[in-house]
Symmetry: C2
């Protein structure tokens, strides 16, 4: 067997420990597939651990570990965007390949990190950064490399999906399920990143770049969380044949008269058809649906978090560095330019296609209007929508639930958001309506 | 841009034309992702075509095209196991990389072809051979490279899935739907390969090899078709919360007291839980569910056939040869041994784990017994099952549908087939039962 591959694992939390366990459990599989021995030579950890093989150096100086002569690949599992960034840049400068699961860091600083890696002829692999164990980065960068990707829609935050699933299955309100998710360890004490969609937006920024060949633009992702979703809307959606999921969308829009050309990057609750596979991905599972030409729709589903799933993705990257990218041992000069680019497209081919503003985005809508129980109100509302060029797909008028007030549910065909804003403003001003109009986006995934 | 990549496309049927169209449609995407120009220099076709770019050489001598100096990669889309094999071996001998969609050829002659390719330092890529556009070969060879694969279950024949879907959705009998599938072009005039499971068995042989690191052993795949599935059983299955799908299974069995160690390779109709995602993959779609350690279950779903989906997989292989395997231009000596092995594991690490015989296989069962409407009969049947060590999971006794005869449906927990054979023989010999016992395998996919 040839020279062994030497790993530094920086950070020994849940995921780091998962990587150590994977290597212990599956060393035989790793060797049989790579023809190489895989050895952890250093771990970066603040406090000395006595459950670690004594042959492994425990280094509390992460910068030193990242530059160690005794290391081929640096696995960054510290998290955060400060020390983690310093460590990765230091590893790159010292000619180490890097594997990271750090979505926030890459979404916010990936352009800089990848350019630095390219300049130093090393690779920064990040399969674990999006959708955990689902190999969506590899699939989009390599397996779909001959396709023109039109759009993708993903359940890319397990916590959010758990909450939406429980609300629907058990009829429990949002706050209640969130508390349980925190108790189960699915949600952080501060759940903002998950329930406001920021975590999903980080991942969406990465997916969109490799889908369309554009620089990372996390700051341009439109982001709506799930904190405003009520059981009432969950149930009306079901009644109409839809299910509400918290999805990230990246959509390529051509200028075809109905809207502006560019790319939509958006994270928001969405009604999707009940019988779509994506609507049946439940609990903490993640899934990404990709629509590309000429392949059509493909779906990838699995665990989006957890020690085992994340370790699987981290070590797939290590195996790629060993086997696929041929980066270890080989003269980097010869493969440079003929490997898989960090963002799927070669750097000089990244495009400056604009990211659309929210008002330019095109989606269907679920509207819940509260109206006085008055024979003319439906006519008023439908006339406003019709005047704004908005086509109605379905209407559901429920019996009055407050004295003299009826909820009217309207599903619309896709419309530019600016048009919908105008229509909603008019509806809210009607004498016959009360309260704000509740709106949730809708996509047929067709 | 560096040197262009020159392709020969041998066979211009549906898939070959799909590949030509893909390159025309997506050339910009291919260039942006690879940094290379991709050019079709030759096509192999029996008759001259006037819809082909005049710069492309049309060669009716496929052997000559496969060895042309003007070609880097030979794409074999002829089909069959005779001329296609000669052409591939000739291309390999002449130092060409090969891309093929030919599952029958690889399942039956892959061991020889891959060894020949390794000896000649070229790669034979075959993503399109299994599950069409779903990148299951790449996923299992690369993305799951750090996992120990425990089992996989796949809907890997679109025709069979279309038939099972229509039978259930529309309540139409098998023969009826088969005729429609033939009219729609989903099934061949001779549908044997599809409905008897032979096509699925070819694909399963390939999947099992890359899952477990074993040589291709198509001849050892146990194979049951769907011709015997009746609407009656489809409906009873639904009533019990299950759905019948035609699945290929590859399962690793350890010797744990309940059965023999080895690998189960089997294709058969199977009851799976209605709410499993796999049960909701409908029509001609394909899907593969992989259970691996430590990742857990992941599902991959999409179009398993058709020009666009197959062309997508063929060209993903071309992109891999260009980008990932670094095989073009680079000195092959330097990457040899550090690329992705044909069967996922390096050749000298393939294992001789035995393939189990049908009687050694362990599955749950759906049994339909026809019995006289007699108070003792259920006691007789359950006693026989209990004596054979078979645990009953559910029983459904339907009202008599023929004079004095009742169908009794029994679901069992997993049991070694040899035990089930003995029990069924005894049940059929009872004075209180009539007809043969209908048995369909059952899997909880847990």
């Amino acid at each position: 067997m040839s020279k062994s591959i030497k790993l530094a694992i920086l950070g020994l939390g849940t995921v780091g420990t998962g990587v150590v366990n994977l290597i212990n459990d599956n060393l035989d599989e790793l060797k049989r597939r790579s023809g190489r021995d895989i050895v952890i030579t250093e771990v970066g950890t603040r406090r000395q651990r006595d459950d670690i093989d004594p042959n492994i150096i425990q280094n509390s100086d992460l910068m030193a570990a990242a530059a160690s002569d005794n290391v081929d690949i640096v696995i960054e599992l510290i998290g955060g965007t400060t020390l983690a960034k310093d460590v990765i840049m230091h590893a790159i400068k010292n000619g180490k390949h890097v594997v990271t699961a750090n979505k926030a860091l890459l979404a916010e600083h990936g352009n800089e990190i990848f350019a630095f890696a390219e300049a130093h002829n090393v690779h920064v692999a990040y399969e674990a950064a999006v959708a955990g164990g689902i190999p969506i980065i590899k699939v989009m960068r390599e397996a779909l490399a001959a396709n023109r990707i039109e759009w993708l829609a993903g359940i890319i935050n397990g916590t959010g999906n758990f909450i939406m699933t429980e609300m629907r299955d058990k009829g429990r309100p949002f706050a209640d399920v969130l508390t349980e998710a925190q108790e189960l360890g699915y949600a952080e004490a501060d759940p903002t990143f998950d329930v406001e969609g920021i975590d999903a937006a980080h991942k969406l920024a990465l997916l969109a770049s490799i889908a369309f060949g554009i620089p990372l633009q996390f700051d341009k992702v439109y982001c709506e969380g799930i904190t405003g979703i009520t059981l009432q809307d969950v149930n009306y959606a079901e009644e109409l044949g839809y299910r509400i999921k918290h999805l990230g969308f990246a959509v390529r829009r051509e200028s075809d008269g109905s809207g502006d050309a560019g790319i939509e990057l958006r994270v928001h609750p969405t009604l999707i058809p009940q019988n779509a596979l994506l609507a049946n991905v439940n609990g903490v599972k993640n899934a990404v649906l990709v629509n590309s030409h000429p392949l059509g729709q493909t779906l990838y589903c699995g665990d989006g978090a957890g020690a085992g799933a994340t370790a699987s993705a981290v070590m797939a990257d290590v195996m790629d560095l060993v086997r696929v990218l041929g980066s270890i041992d080989s003269n980097n000069e010869s493969t440079n330019g003929h490997h898989v680019p960090h963002l799927a497209f070669i750097p000089e081919q990244l495009s400056d296609t604009p990211i659309l503003r929210a008002e330019q985005m095109i989606t269907g809508y679920y509207l819940r209007v509260h109206a006085h129980d008055n024979p003319g109100v439906l006519a008023d509302i439908t006339r406003i929508l019709s005047d704004a060029g908005i086509n109605i797909d379905a209407i559901l008028q429920k019996p009055a639930h407050k004295l003299g007030q009826v909820p009217v549910i309207i599903l619309t065909l896709p419309v530019v958001e600016s048009q919908m804003n105008i229509a909603i403003e008019k509806i809210e001003k009607l004498d016959t309506t009360t309260d704000k109009v509740v709106r949730i986006r809708l996509d047929e995934l067709a």
